[in-house]
C-alpha cells in the first residue's frame, strides 16, 4: 500500500462520524456506542490504564452540571469524542475531553409520566430518544435538531417510555412502560431512517381478554447475539399488579426472558423468572451474555440477577436452564420446577392481613447494570437484601396496582457471584436501605460502583477490597462507563444532576 493510499484510508476512518451498526459488534476503545457499551450487556471493558496499583491517584478530570433537579439515570454514549446524556425531556451533547456543552435539546412540555430517561441510542449520525409521552424522537447528533418524531404507544392509555433503544443493523428496537393500567406490553422495531414500524411483538394478550394477564412491559434495553441472530429481552410484571386471582396461571410472557429474531420479532424461546408474579418483580434486569465453560463444557450462556432474588444461568441457544439459585433472602417460593423456574408459594400472595415478603418491591436488585468479569468468572451485582409487607383485598379491585405494599427494612451489598456454582464469593457492604448504583468492571481487575451514602467506589475485583473512593454528594442512579481518548482512560459516573469524569493525573 502506498503512503498516499494509507493516508486516505486513515483519514476516511477518522472522518467517519456516528455509529455504523457494524462497530456495535466490536466497539473500539475510544467509544461507548450503546447503552451496555456492547451487545453482551457485560459492562466490562478491556481497558487497563487504571489499575489496582494506581487507582488511588484517580482524580476529577471534569464535571458536567445539567442544572436539573432530576437525577441522571442514563448510561452515557461516547462516540467521536462526544458524550450524549439525558434526563427526562432533555438531551445534551458534551465534549468528552473538557466536559463543556455542545448543544442541549429540550422536548416540549407534555403530560407523560416523568420517571427517568435511561439514555439515547445512535445509528449513523442519528440519535434516538424516548419521551414521557411515549414518542420516539430522531435527533441529528451534530446539533440536536429533530429529524422526525413518531408515537410508539398511546400515553393517554397510560403508557410511557424511558429506555435507550437497542440498535441491531437497521432496526431501532423500543420497549414501553405502564403498569398503573391493565395494558399490553410490547416491543417494536422501527426503521432508523423513516420511523416506520417494522414489526411488533406483544408480551401479553389484548387488554380485556377474559382471565388473561396484561402487563409484561419492556422498559429496559435488551442484549443481542449476532451469531444466533437473537435479541434477549426481559419483560415486566403482570397487571393487575398485586391481585393474582384476576389472571390465573403463569401469565406469559410477563416476568420473562424472551429470545426474539430482530428481523421479524418472532419468538425463539422464553424462560420465566417469576411465573404468576404478585410482587411487582419485573424481570427486566440485564440479560448478560457470556461465552465460557459451564460444567467443563463451552457454552453460550445468558445470566440474569433477577429482581425476585434469583440468579439464573441459561443456555442462550435454547433457553435451557443451567443454574437457578438465590443470591440473598427470598421467602416467596416453594422450590424450582424442572425448567429451572421458581414455583411461587400461594401463601405468599398479598393478603388482606399482610404477608411479609423477601425481597421488597424494589427487589434484590433493580434496573441498574450488573457486570460480568471474565477473568475471575464473577458476576457482580448491586444487591438489596430486604423485606416488605404486601396487602391485597377484594375491595382493591383488579385494575392497575390493586393492593398496597410497604418496604420494611433493607440494606445495600455488592455481591460477587461465582457463575458456575451461584455461590457468593465475597460481599461488600454498601450501607443502609439501598445503593442502586450500576457496576462496571475492567480487565485490570477493578470494579467501579457507588454506595448508599453517595460515594463512588473503585474495588478490587478479586476480593471486593476498596482501593479508592470519592464523595459525589448523591447516590449514583446510573451505571458507570469507561473509554480511552488520546491515550487517557476515563471513567464516567453520575450523582444527582451532575456527571463526573475521572482519570489519572496527566504527566
Amino acid at each position: 500500500m502506498t503512503r498516499l493510499i494509507q493516508f486516505v484510508f486513515a483519514s476516511s476512518v477518522v472522518a467517519a462520524q456516528g455509529v455504523d451498526p457494524t462497530i456495535l459488534l466490536n466497539p473500539p476503545a475510544d467509544s461507548w456506542p450503546a447503552y451496555h457499551g456492547d451487545y453482551s450487556g457485560r459492562r466490562h471493558s478491556a481497558l487497563t490504564q487504571i489499575t489496582p496499583q494506581n487507582v488511588a491517584q484517580l482524580g476529577l478530570a471534569w464535571a458536567f452540571q445539567t442544572g436539573q433537579v432530576q437525577q441522571i439515570k442514563c448510561s452515557p454514549l461516547l462516540v467521536d469524542g462526544i458524550l450524549y446524556i439525558t434526563v427526562t425531556d432533555n438531551v445534551w451533547a458534551v465534549d468528552a475531553r473538557s466536559g463543556h456543552q455542545l448543544w442541549h435539546y429540550t422536548y416540549p412540555p407534555n403530560k407523560g409520566f416523568h420517571i427517568g430517561s435511561r439514555g439515547v441510542s445512535m445509528y449513523k449520525d442519528w440519535l434516538y430518544f424516548m419521551t414521557p409521552d411515549a414518542h420516539l424522537i430522531c435527533l441529528n447528533a451534530s446539533d440536536g435538531t429533530v429529524r422526525w418524531n413518531v408515537i410508539v404507544a398511546d400515553s393517554q392509555k397510560g403508557y410511557w417510555t424511558t429506555m435507550s433503544p437497542l440498535i441491531v443493523r437497521n432496526h431501532v428496537i423500543v420497549g414501553v412502560s405502564g403498569d398503573f393500567d391493565n395494558l399490553t406490553g410490547f416491543l417494536k422495531s422501527v426503521d432508523p431512517e423513516t420511523g416506520k414500524t417494522q414489526w411488533r411483538w406483544d408480551s401479553t394478550p389484548p387488554a380485556g381478554t377474559p382471565n388473561a394477564t396484561t402487563g409484561g412491559m419492556t422498559w429496559m434495553t435488551g442484549t443481542y447475539d449476532p451469531s444466533l441472530n437473537l435479541i434477549y429481552w426481559g419483560t415486566g410484571n403482570p397487571t393487575p399488579v398485586l391481585n393474582g386471582k384476576a389472571r390465573p396461571g403463569d401469565d406469559l410472557y410477563t416476568c420473562s426472558i424472551v429470545a426474539l429474531n430482530p428481523d421479524t420479532g418472532k419468538l425463539s424461546w422464553s424462560f420465566q423468572p417469576s411465573p404468576h408474579d404478585t410482587h411487582d418483580w419485573d424481570a427486566v434486569e440485564t440479560p448478560v451474555l457470556v461465552d465460557a465453560n459451564f460444567g467443563g463444557k463451552p457454552r453460550k450462556m445468558l445470566m440474569q440477577t433477577s429482581r425476585n432474588g434469583y440468579f439464573f444461568v441459561l443456555d442462550r441457544t435454547t433457553g435451557e436452564s443451567l443454574l437457578t439459585t438465590t443470591f440473598g433472602p427470598v421467602n416467596w417460593s416453594i422450590g424450582v420446577d424442572k425448567k429451572g423456574q421458581p414455583i411461587p408459594n400461594p401463601a405468599k400472595e398479598p393478603a388482606s392481613d399482610g404477608r411479609l415478603i423477601a425481597p421488597d418491591e424494589g427487589g434484590l436488585t433493580n434496573y441498574r447494570s450488573p457486570s460480568f468479569d471474565p477473568k475471575t468468572g464473577l458476576f457482580i451485582v448491586d444487591a438489596h437484601p430486604s423485606y416488605g409487607i404486601y396487602f391485597a383485598k377484594p375491595a382493591d379491585g383488579s385494575f392497575g396496582w390493586a393492593g398496597a405494599d410497604y418496604g420494611v427494612w433493607g440494606k445495600a451489598v455488592l455481591d460477587a457471584i461465582d457463575y458456575q456454582t451461584g455461590k457468593i464469593r465475597w460481599s461488600h457492604e454498601l450501607g443502609p436501605n439501598g445503593a442502586g448504583a450500576g457496576v462496571l468492571t475492567t480487565d485490570s481487575g477493578l470494579i467501579f460502583t457507588g454506595d448508599a451514602a453517595g460515594n463512588v467506589l473503585a474495588l478490587r475485583t478479586s476480593d471486593g477490597k476498596t482501593l479508592w473512593h470519592s464523595g459525589a454528594g448523591s447516590q449514583m442512579q446510573s451505571s458507570p462507563i469507561t473509554y480511552e481518548l488520546d491515550g487517557r482512560q476515563y471513567v464516567v459516573t453520575s450523582a444527582g444532576g451532575v456527571l463526573f469524569s475521572w482519570s489519572l493525573p496527566e504527566h
Binding site: 437525577q71 409520566f113 392481613d353 450501607g431
Partner: protein
C-alpha cells in the same frame, strides 16, 4: 361588588392558596395541578394520589390532613425527603399551589369512595391471636429481652395503630443508635450515631455537638438495638406477625 371588595378578594386569592377561595377557584386550581401531578408525582404516589410504585397514599396522609393551603405540603415538595427517597422539586409558587389543590381534591374524592380504595385499615390487621402473640413476645421472639409491656411499650396501642404500629413493630425506622469512638490517644467518646459510611463516622455528643472522624484513623463500635428487629425478619411466620400485632394492641 365594589372595586375595593374585588381588590380585597384578589389580594386574598394571591396571598394564600387555600383559605379564602371559593370551591370553583379550588377546583380550577386542582385541574391545573392534575397534569403536573401526573408528570412529577404519579409514578411514586399513584395517578390518583392514593399510592403508587413506592410512595405513600397521600389521600390518607396525616401531613396532607394537617395541611392548610400548602403550609405543610409545599415545604416537603420543595425540600424533598431524601432519607425516604423523595427528591426535591423546583416548582414555582403557582405550580405548588396547583399541586396542593390537586392533592386536597383527590383526598376529598377518595373519602367519598366506599371500599374501592387501596390501603390498609386497622380492621384488616385483626386476624391474630393475642395470647399466642404474648407467648411469642416472651418466648421465641425474645422481644422481652429489650421490651416490657409495662415499661417502654405501656400504652403503645394508644400511640400507634394499624399499619403504623405494624411497621414500627417490624422495624423501627429512625431508632437511635450509639457510637463509641476510641481515638489514637486512647480517649473514648460516646454519643448518638449521626453518620456512618465506609469512610466516615459521626456522632452528636451530650452537648449535641456534631463530631466526625475518618474510619481509618479511629477504632469504633456501633450499638444499634434496632438490628435485632432486622434479624427477626428472617424468622417470623405471617401468623407470628399477626399474633404479635394482636398482643401489642392489648397494650393500651
Amino acid at each position: 361588588m365594589t372595586s375595593r371588595n374585588r381588590f380585597l378578594i384578589a389580594l386574598l386569592a394571591i396571598g394564600s392558596f387555600g383559605n379564602a377561595q371559593s370551591a370553583t377557584d379550588q377546583s380550577a386550581l386542582a385541574e391545573r395541578g392534575a397534569p403536573l401531578f401526573i408528570q412529577q408525582c404519579a409514578f411514586c404516589h399513584g395517578r390518583d394520589a392514593a399510592g403508587g410504585e413506592d410512595g405513600p397514599d397521600l389521600t390518607r396522609s396525616k401531613l396532607v390532613a394537617a395541611d392548610a393551603g400548602g403550609d405543610k405540603i409545599a415545604p416537603v415538595i420543595r425540600e424533598g425527603r431524601p432519607e425516604k427517597g423523595m427528591p426535591r422539586f423546583s416548582l414555582s409558587d403557582p405550580e405548588l399551589a396547583a399541586l396542593v389543590a390537586f392533592i386536597h381534591d383527590q383526598k376529598t374524592k377518595a373519602e367519598a369512595l366506599v371500599g374501592g380504595r387501596r390501603g390498609v385499615e386497622v380492621a384488616d390487621l385483626q386476624t391474630g391471636n393475642a395470647e399466642a402473640g404474648k407467648q411469642y413476645f416472651n418466648g421465641a421472639g425474645k422481644c422481652a429481652a429489650c421490651h416490657s409491656p409495662t415499661g417502654d411499650l405501656a400504652g403503645v396501642a394508644k400511640r400507634f395503630e394499624g399499619l403504623k404500629l405494624e411497621e414500627r413493630m417490624l422495624y423501627p425506622r429512625g431508632a437511635k443508635a450509639k457510637l463509641t469512638v476510641r481515638l489514637p490517644s486512647g480517649q473514648t467518646i460516646t454519643g448518638e450515631l449521626a453518620y456512618h459510611d465506609e469512610f466516615t463516622v459521626g456522632l452528636r455528643d451530650s452537648a449535641r455537638h456534631y463530631r466526625s472522624w475518618s474510619t481509618s484513623h479511629v477504632k469504633f463500635s456501633i450499638d444499634a438495638p434496632a438490628d435485632t428487629h432486622a434479624d427477626l425478619l428472617a424468622k417470623y411466620t405471617d401468623d407470628d406477625i399477626h399474633n404479635l400485632m394482636a398482643y401489642l394492641q392489648t397494650l393500651r
